[in-house]
Structure formats: structure tokens, C-alpha cells
Symmetry: C2
Subunit: 335 residues, 2 copies
């Protein structure tokens, strides 16, 4: 394992310090460095808080800022933040309208966010939205039902925009639950993950193998097979996603192709190209696109494809301005 | 070698097709798909054209759009675009004010851009700016003098903003030459590059080795050594950069930490954190920061650090709005 680091124990803290210092006009550390929050909070707005293990960067810290998250809590690598981190973020960012917690569907995350929510009962109004977009993970390791993976960023963007526009806590909760039914993701990996603490790969693939149906914590996927060409890989992913969605006529959608950390951008665009064609053949209009490395699993080579059906409201909220370290556009940008 | 691709011969073309389709509100293909250009050209503005081999994405195609490049020509992997591609881009984007060519300092690129410029003499006014920011490559392989590496994006951003604001061809040429003296980059790699055509790594490192002073074409660097901790690596890079710059008192600068394709974002922020401290100790004020994967070498694990001294004009132009696939901010964003 070769990494740019000093010692494994301080890797997350050092990296977050660099992150805050590079983006100090957008974000600041909360007290005790327990979380990262927007530099400028908006009084009266529902606070949107997310978090999870480190190793998925830029998610979630890269999504803190105007139009998206108010705070993000980062745990150790692939480990949920602790309840006291989440409680501190709630106390700091709730300006009176309550907090919406966006939690990826992993047992550890759900437990700690629930404990935090229970600890502040009577002092803060809290609602929770569970992100669970992974079609490959019904009953997979470390989660009950679908895992929350790359589609989480879509939930965070759209709910962030809605909160910015003044939507109340109940409205955000309902919108989040509606969104969750319309976002599906599937991932494949060409390598495992090397966790700095252990310096060992979480799984090892032969030079001609790929792992299908992976999550973002280095856990094995659904099955392993010989690597095939991009057309075949994209076709398998897209058909699995489509089989798990309830399509209407003339659906409009966002297509997100997300790299896991070790996959070069041109390969993401190549898969995007195939996936877009396949979805369009199935009658879906791709009206928005996002291609890049957003929801990662350290240095894993691999990618996921996410299809998110967009109604009028979702499309409008997706297009609203966002100003974060990792996702940024203005009102009049054409995307 | 495992890559998401169909066949190596069409990999670049398929990836560019995906790129244009994902960003079709910002870019379009030129005739014959010889280059990618802005969807909306501005009559009377000097056209800014760049290009180079594929494998460095998002550079240059990801920098085409408002406030940066008018066109980008992509060659085969690590191979200059041909003169006819460049000529086609000039003919399409020159709306009367001439063309500025931004060329990375590699012999192949310089030759082909020169041939294109000569071919259009009498029909188009052309000036050329050579990007040459790599401190490690005075006399290195495939270039004469310093290679053009990650600092190229700073040249493209600033000259793009100046052209957008109406600067004429002579002014842009002079500004570009001034910029070139103020930008220095150094890179290190933890792995070689696997070129799809050959399916072989360009160089191989032992599990405990790193290559120091690498460029972005998979060529070996200046020397090889045992990998050390991040503090030591950053210190070596920063001192080499500083030794090659003429500093004034209280210089202001942009600090760019750029991933080569296979290095996760948290490691980039960790190196940023150390490098920023080191530069600040040397009396440099880091007033702008950019951390991410922008100028790549396929799947190479590694990174480069770039320091770009900013006078008032450079800072103002850097902050001007930009709307491209890979770099995007608005007028009022706080960075």
C-alpha cells in the first residue's frame, strides 16, 4: 500500500484540516473539530445535516455550503461518526426550524444518527431521511435493505435546495421519502480497497476479474466475474437498474456516473456514453448529467451508475444554485 | 491492465462522445469531430485554443466554455493533435480578433501547433503562449526546457478571463509570457501509467518506491527513492519549487494540488495542508486554492503541487466567472 500520508491514525484529521483551509470561504470547523459546517448559516432555515465514515470524499464534507448541507460529520475511515459529533452539529446549526438528518442506509450510521436524535428530543425538532439507492444490496453486508451510495448526493442536493427555498421540516421529510423511491444505483469494481489502518486490501481480484454489485466500504459485491467490455458492463448495470424502477411513459432523469476514486475520468465518460444510449433506448430522457468522482471508496478502481427520475420539482431544485467545494453552479449556468 | 473500455482504438473517441453529450449545453463537436468548441462563440473576442494528447482529462476539453477556452483539440493518448485538427479549430473559432494558442512545452505539441499556425498565415492572426511550469524537467524527456504540466490550467483560466474581458491578441500574448514566469509545478508518482494501446505500464515501481519529478506522459522522473511520509514529500516539493522562483516580499499566490488520476481526494488535501503551511512559513500568502484531479496521466497514482504567484491582475482574472465542465464558478462565489 502506498499512500500520501504521515501516520494512519491522523490521516483523516490532517486531510480535513487541509480541506477546511482550502475552502475557508465556504466552510469552517465546528467546536472541537467534531464536524464541518457552512461558514454562514441562514437563520430560520431547516438545517440539513449528513455524515458518515471517512473515505468517501468529497462526500459529505464537499457538499457543505449554500444550497446543500449545513453540516457534515466525518467518522474514522468507513466508520460512522459518533452520536456526540452529530449532537454537536445539531446544536450548532439548528436556528429554530429544526434539523433534517440525511443518513446512508448502513446499520452503524443509522444507529448513531438515531441515538443523536433521541438525545436532543425536546430541545430540537429532528426528522431523518434514509438514502438507500443501491439496487445490488438488498440484504447485503452491513445494511438492511438497499445501501445508500452515490445517489445520496442527489438527495442532499435536492433537499438542500428545498431547505434554502424555505421548505419546512415536514415538507423536506416527505420530499426526501419521495426522492428515495426514484433513485437507483449499481456499482462495479476492478480492485478492492486498501484501508490505511490495516494496509491490506479488503478483497483481491485477479488481473482479469471484476466485482459486480459493490458498495462503497470495500465489502465484496454480489458476484465476481471475468471483466468484459464497457458495452457489456454498462448493459448489465442499466438493465439491473431499470428492472428495479417503476417507469412511466416519457420519464425524465438525471444520469450520474460516479468514480470510486481510482478510475480515470475518460473511462467514466465512456461508460456514461453507453449508459445514456441504453437508457434513452428504454424511453428515458436524460435531461441532466453528472460525471465525476463524488462518492468514493478510497482508492478503489470502479464506478457506479445512478439513474434518478426527475419530476418538475426535482428538476427545478437540482438546477438551483449550489456553492460547495465539490458541487458548484450558479443560477444562470446552463448544465 | 483493467479499464472500462471496448477497444483501445476507439477509447478516446467514445469518451469524447460521452463528454460532449454530458455537457451539451456548454460544448459541441467541431466539424468532423476534429475538436471540441464552446457552444456559443463571442464575435470579436480573441479565440483561445489549446489541446494536446488524450489521457490528461479533464484538461483540455473540460476547460472549454465561457471564461476559458474556445476550443480544445485532442490527439491520441499522449500524442499531439495533428495540424489539421488545430487548423480546423482556428478556422471555426476565429471571429476576427485572432487566435491565441496555448501549448504545453513538449516537442510534438509545439511542432504541430507551429505547423498549424504557419498554414493559416495571411488568413488568421495567431499568437502562441508556451506553458512550461515543471521545475523538474529542465532537459527531461520529450521536452526542451520545462515541461507544461498542471500549471497550464492556470494559464488557460487567466488568459480565458482576459480574452472574455476584451483583451487583444498582443495583450494576451504579453500576459501569458508574464504568467509563465510565475508558475512552478513539481510532481511525484506512486505508480506508472498503463497505456491502453500497449496494456503495459510505462515504468514499474516497487511497493515501497516513488518516482520524483514526473511529468504527465508516463515518462520516468528525475530519480526514484523509497517512499517517505507526506511531510517529507511535501517539503521536498515545496523547497524545489521555491528554489526556482524569484520571490518578492509578501507574495500572494494560488496553491494548486493536482491528482494524476489514481490518487484519492483526501490524500490531495493532506498534501495541500502540509504544502500550504510550508509556503506560508516562507512568507507567501496563499490567497486562492484549488485541490482536485484536473491535469492527469491516465490512472497514474501521484500528484503535483503548483505555486502560482498572483499580482492584482492575475487574482482579479482568476476570480472572474468560468463555466466549463471541469471548472465552474460565478461572479459572486466566495472561494
Amino acid at each position: 500500500m502506498k499512500k500520501f500520508m504521515n501516520v494512519a491514525a491522523s490521516m483523516v484529521a490532517e486531510s480535513l484540516e487541509g480541506f477546511v483551509s482550502a475552502h475557508d470561504r465556504v466552510v469552517v470547523f465546528g467546536p472541537g473539530r467534531k464536524f464541518i459546517r457552512r461558514r454562514h448559516l441562514t437563520p430560520g432555515k431547516v438545517a440539513i445535516i449528513s455524515g458518515g465514515g471517512a473515505g468517501h470524499e468529497p462526500m459529505h464534507v464537499g457538499f457543505v455550503g449554500h444550497g446543500m448541507l449545513d453540516a457534515a460529520c466525518t467518522g474514522h475511515i468507513f466508520t460512522s461518526p459518533t452520536p456526540d459529533q452529530i449532537i454537536a452539529a445539531i446544536e450548532e446549526t439548528d436556528t429554530g426550524a429544526g434539523c433534517l438528518l440525511i443518513v446512508k442506509n448502513y446499520d452503524g450510521d443509522i444507529m448513531n444518527f438515531e441515538m443523536a436524535a433521541e438525545a436532543v428530543i425536546g430541545r430540537h425538532r429532528i426528522e431523518t431521511v434514509i438514502a438507500s439507492d443501491d439496487v445490488a444490496a438488498q440484504g447485503a453486508a452491513r445494511s438492511s435493505g438497499r445501501r445508500g451510495v452515490a445517489g445520496t448526493l442527489i438527495v442532499e442536493k435536492i433537499l438542500g435546495a428545498a431547505a434554502e427555498a424555505g421548505m419546512n421540516l415536514a415538507g423536506l421529510k416527505a420530499l426526501g421519502e419521495r426522492l428515495s423511491t426514484q433513485i437507483r444505483t449499481m456499482g462495479v469494481a476492478l480492485s478492492g480497497v486498501t484501508v490505511p489502518d490495516t494496509a491490506r486490501a479488503t478483497f483481491t481480484l485477479e488481473p482479469d476479474e471484476m466485482e459486480v454489485g459493490v458498495g462503497i466500504h470495500g465489502e465484496p459485491g454480489l458476484f465476481r466475474q471475468k471483466i468484459t467490455d464497457a458495452d457489456t458492463i454498462a448493459s448489465m448495470i442499466c438493465s439491473t437498474i431499470l428492472a428495479d424502477m417503476e417507469l412511466q411513459n416519457s420519464d425524465r432523469a438525471l444520469l450520474l456516473v460516479n468514480g470510486f476514486g481510482g478510475t480515470p475520468t475518460p473511462e467514466l465518460y465512456l461508460i456514461y456514453n453507453v449508459a445514456r444510449r441504453l437508457f434513452e433506448v428504454s424511453g428515458i430522457r436524460i435531461v441532466r448529467s453528472l460525471v465525476g468522482t463524488y462518492v468514493t471508496s478510497l482508492d478503489m478502481a470502479g464506478l457506479s451508475v445512478t439513474l434518478s427520475l426527475f419530476d418538475e420539482e426535482a428538476l427545478r431544485l437540482w438546477d438551483e444554485p449550489v456553492l460547495t467545494a465539490a458541487l458548484q453552479w450558479g443560477r444562470h449556468d446552463q448544465r
